[in-house]
Amino acid sequence: MFRNLFFAALVAALCAGLATSIFQAWRVTPLIFAAEAFEGDGNAHSHAQDTPEHSHDEAATTADSHDEDEWMPQDGLERTAYTVLANLLMAAGYALIIGAVSVLFNLPITFANGLLWGLGGFAAFSLAPALGLPPGLPGMPVAETLARQIWWAGAALSTGAAFVLVAKQRAAWALAAAIALVIIPQLVATPVVPDEASGVPAGLAAAFTAAVLYNGALFWVILGLAFGRMADYLASRPVTLANGAKA
């Protein structure tokens, strides 16, 4: 049975990870490259005309990721390959997490309810965090990374918990608690973004946010449906084939 869970997660991750890789290459990564052109090569770009204070703030907020001697994949095939690999591993992570939620709370994922799982995952892991932390491009001013990660995880966890609660309990108290779980993280203040000018055009940033949300929806719907389809298939097989130890 462990095998069923992991195999379904693996197949779902493969489908969703490859689908998002294709969509990213088509509509998302080109925007990242475009933004990096505005970001320039390294930190020094465009600070000459800014005030010294500005340069200092900028260096402080982005110092963690732009050291010249840091390893990073070469643009081109290597960078694409790393992105596809990261997409697949990330997809496997999400697939195992919804699989874990499924078995821990005894909420089977099937092809019939796979769309609901997908939309739930999208709402919890894409929409809810994005309301407080709009997906941004490289080169845009951002608050401290750890603080944003904590806010992101809190919003995702709380929103996801709301869906599990409603799936398990249809009582009025459960519905009220679920609404609270969805709203409360959004009432917590997000980390303050430093007030800095960005070289990234507003139109590019807006297009990117839309592309990321579309990408998230696509990824999650495919993950949920593929997981459900695979779980159905594995469950319909004779138990001796699916798991010899269980027979």
Partner: protein, 60 residues
């Protein structure tokens, strides 16, 4: 387990089996998610950079 339980798949597990499978899957899934979306290590960050931006994870 008899054959009537076969078609119910994962839900046919006993409570303790479900708990173990669930916790294992959760730990492995969290490890993969943290590694690709959250880890501070610059190699992990730079390798997964475009994925982080594309999936809306907090990035630089």
């Amino acid at each position: 387990m008899n054959t009537t339980a076969v078609t119910s798949g994962l839900s046919s597990l006993s409570l303790s089996q479900r708990f173990i499978a669930g916790v294992l899957a959760l730990m492995l899934g969290m490890t993969l998610l943290v590694g690709t979306g959250f880890a501070g290590d610059y190699r992990l960050h730079n390798g997964a950079h475009d994925t982080r931006h594309a999936m809306g994870f907090p990035c630089h």
